[in-house]
């Protein structure tokens, strides 16, 4: 694979020009990959369905100093991630599913809140006006009714995802309190049913 030096130069020049125009400072990120944590690399592999062999081929292509994790480090990190509460799964005759849905949802909320990506969603009344939530949530006895519209809430969507190479039915949870709730990386795969 050859990289056109002129094209690369043009891209960098364009980035610098935009940074100057916006009053910012452009920094050439020549050590960015060194700072890429192993967990992030694992997430990239899982999210993009990259096989370990392809990733290692890419690592060898980039060279030993590129900062990409070794197969053993990646495997160890994936195993560690699989034992965390939010990722732990179980399977039985009905299919495979998350053991602790609460841990998965709270991890997503924590991530959204920490990254300042949590977006408040409001309800609208019968007249179309936005309803302001002011009350805290103290728990409710039954799940059979919706909470009052005056209570602070989060909107969790449950949907099905059918199809795939092997026909299956997947229950997917997404949180509407973010900018792109339906993107694949923002959703929680709750379970897979054959």
């Amino acid at each position: 694979m050859e990289v056109d030096a002129g094209l690369a130069r043009a891209v960098v020049d364009d980035v610098c020009r935009r940074a100057r125009a916006s009053g910012g400072v452009a920094v050439d990120p020549n050590t960015a990959i060194d700072a890429l944590p192993v967990r992030l690399q694992s997430q990239i592999i899982v999210d993009n369905n990259i096989s370990a062999a392809t990733f290692q081929r890419f690592r060898l292509f980039m060279g030993p100093g590129c900062g990409l994790a070794s197969p053993m480090a990646l495997r160890k990190d994936l195993n560690r991630a699989a034992t965390e509460d939010r990722n732990r799964t179980a399977s039985d005759g009905a299919g495979a599913y998350l053991v602790s849905l609460r841990a998965a949802v709270e991890a997503l909320m924590f991530y959204l809140w920490r990254q300042h990506q949590f977006v408040e969603r409001v309800l609208r009344g019968a007249d179309g006006r936005e309803m302001v939530a002011t009350l805290p949530f103290d728990g409710q006895v039954s799940a059979g009714f919706s909470p009052s519209s005056a209570i602070h809430d989060v909107h969790i969507c449950l949907r099905l995802d059918n199809g795939g190479l092997l026909s299956s039915c997947k229950a997917v949870l997404t949180c509407a309190n973010q900018l792109h709730p339906s993107s694949r990386g923002s959703s929680i795969l709750h379970g897979v049913l054959p």
Binding site: G95, G139, H190
Partner: protein
């Protein structure tokens, strides 16, 4: 299917989730086709006497259901 997922979801809805240090209620929104939603909720479907998932309107007025139509309306 619902037998596996409903207990978890009910726990979320009764207990809420922690967001930024405060507890919030969970509002569950079903997304999908009508067949999925009626099977999840336990509704009898579009051919039942009350075919709509979101309201109580009856299908049509018949000789027997006049009082119910007066009370709940029809489509």
């Amino acid at each position: 299917m619902a037998a596996v997922y409903v207990p978890d979801l009910d726990t979320l809805r009764t207990g809420g989730v922690d967001v930024g240090g405060s507890r919030r209620a969970v509002r569950l929104i079903l997304i999908g086709d009508y067949a999925f939603m009626i099977s999840w909720v336990g509704h009898k479907g579009a051919s039942s006497r009350m075919p709509c998932l979101w309201c109580t309107a009856l299908r049509r007025r018949t000789q027997q259901n006049g009082l119910m139509v007066d009370k709940w309306g029809n489509i």
